[in-house]
C-alpha cells in the first residue's frame, strides 16, 4: 500500500472512532412545560427509554420546575415577589393543569379519573419509578432564581442536581436522542 492510501485509511479510522464513541445510548430532554399532560408524556418517554437501557437525563426548566415542588415543604427567606410567585404557581404534580380542556379544574379532574380507570400511572408514581430506574433530573438554576424556588421546597428525588445550560448541552451532545417538551 502506498503512503497516500495509508494516510487516508488512518484518517478514516480516526473518523470512524469518533463517530462510534461520540454518541451514547442516552436520551436528553428539556422539560419546559408545566402542563400536566406534557410532563406525563415526558415521564413516559423517560421511563420507557430506561427499559431500553438508555441513560436518561431530564433538564427541568421554567414552568416545569413547579412539578418538582413538594407541597409539604416550605422555604424560608423569600422576598415579597418570590413569595407571590410561590403562591401563584402550582405546588407539585397534584396542582398541575391540563394544557387543553382544563375548564377551571373540571377537565383535569376528569382526566385523572379516566387515567385511573385505564390504569395509567399517576405523575407521582411516574416520578417514583423514574427515580428507581436511575433517571437523572437536572434543574436549571437560573429558572429557580427567576421564580424564587429554593432547593428545600423540592421533592426528595435520588438523582437531582441544580445546574446550568452547560450541563444540558454536554449531555445533549453525546445523546442519540434529544427532545424538548
Amino acid at each position: 500500500m502506498n503512503q497516500e492510501s495509508q494516510q487516508q485509511l488512518n484518517e478514516l479510522k480516526t473518523r470512524l472512532t469518533s463517530l462510534e464513541t461520540g454518541t451514547k445510548d442516552q436520551l436528553s430532554m428539556v422539560v419546559f412545560s408545566g402542563d400536566m399532560d406534557k410532563i406525563l408524556a415526558a415521564m413516559i418517554i423517560a421511563t420507557g427509554a430506561s427499559a431500553y437501557d438508555m441513560k436518561v437525563k431530564l433538564f427541568f426548566t421554567f414552568w416545569a420546575i413547579s412539578a418538582l415542588r413538594d407541597p409539604a415543604k416550605n422555604a424560608k427567606g423569600k422576598n415579597i415577589i418570590e413569595k407571590m410567585f410561590g403562591k401563584m404557581l402550582p405546588r407539585g404534580t397534584s396542582q398541575l393543569k391540563l394544557s387543553k380542556l382544563h375548564m377551571c379544574g373540571m377537565g383535569t379532574a376528569m382526566i385523572k379519573g379516566i387515567m385511573k380507570k385505564h390504569k395509567v400511572a399517576s405523575l407521582e408514581e411516574m416520578f417514583k419509578t423514574a427515580g428507581e430506574l436511575g433517571v437523572e433530573i437536572n434543574i436549571c438554576e437560573m429558572s429557580m432564581n427567576l421564580m424564587g424556588f429554593k432547593r428545600e421546597e423540592l421533592i426528595d428525588y435520588p438523582q437531582m442536581t441544580i445546574c446550568g445550560v452547560g450541563t444540558f448541552l454536554s449531555d445533549a451532545q453525546e445523546s442519540k436522542i434529544q427532545l424538548f417538551i
Binding site: 421511563t47 427499559a51 431500553y52 390504569k119 395509567v120 400511572a121
Partner: protein, 83 residues
C-alpha cells in the same frame, strides 16, 4: 413459532403486567429480564394492546429473541428468549 409450539413451552419466568397501561408492561419486562439467565424463556401477560407491538421491537433492539404471542380472552401472552 406456532401457537401449538408456544403452548408446549415451559417458561422460566412469568411476568403478569395485566391491568397496567403503557409503559407498565415494558418496565415490568425490563425489570424481570434481569432475573433470568441467557437462553431462558420469559412470558409476559399483558392486557394492553400496544404491548403486542412494543415488546417485539424492544426484543429486536435488546437482541432478545421474540418467540410469539398466544391470545387469551382478555389478555395476551408474549414469549421471548433472553439473549
Amino acid at each position: 413459532m406456532s401457537t401449538e409450539n408456544l403452548k408446549n413451552l415451559t417458561s422460566n419466568k412469568i411476568v403478569d403486567a395485566r391491568g397496567t397501561a403503557c409503559p407498565g408492561p415494558l418496565l415490568a419486562a425490563k425489570k424481570a429480564i434481569g432475573e433470568i439467565g441467557s437462553g431462558e424463556i420469559m412470558e409476559i401477560y399483558s392486557s394492553d394492546e400496544g404491548t403486542k407491538n412494543d415488546i417485539p421491537k424492544w426484543c429486536q433492539k435488546m437482541s432478545h429473541e421474540f418467540m410469539g404471542i398466544i391470545e387469551e380472552d382478555s389478555y395476551s401472552r408474549l414469549f421471548l428468549k433472553k439473549a
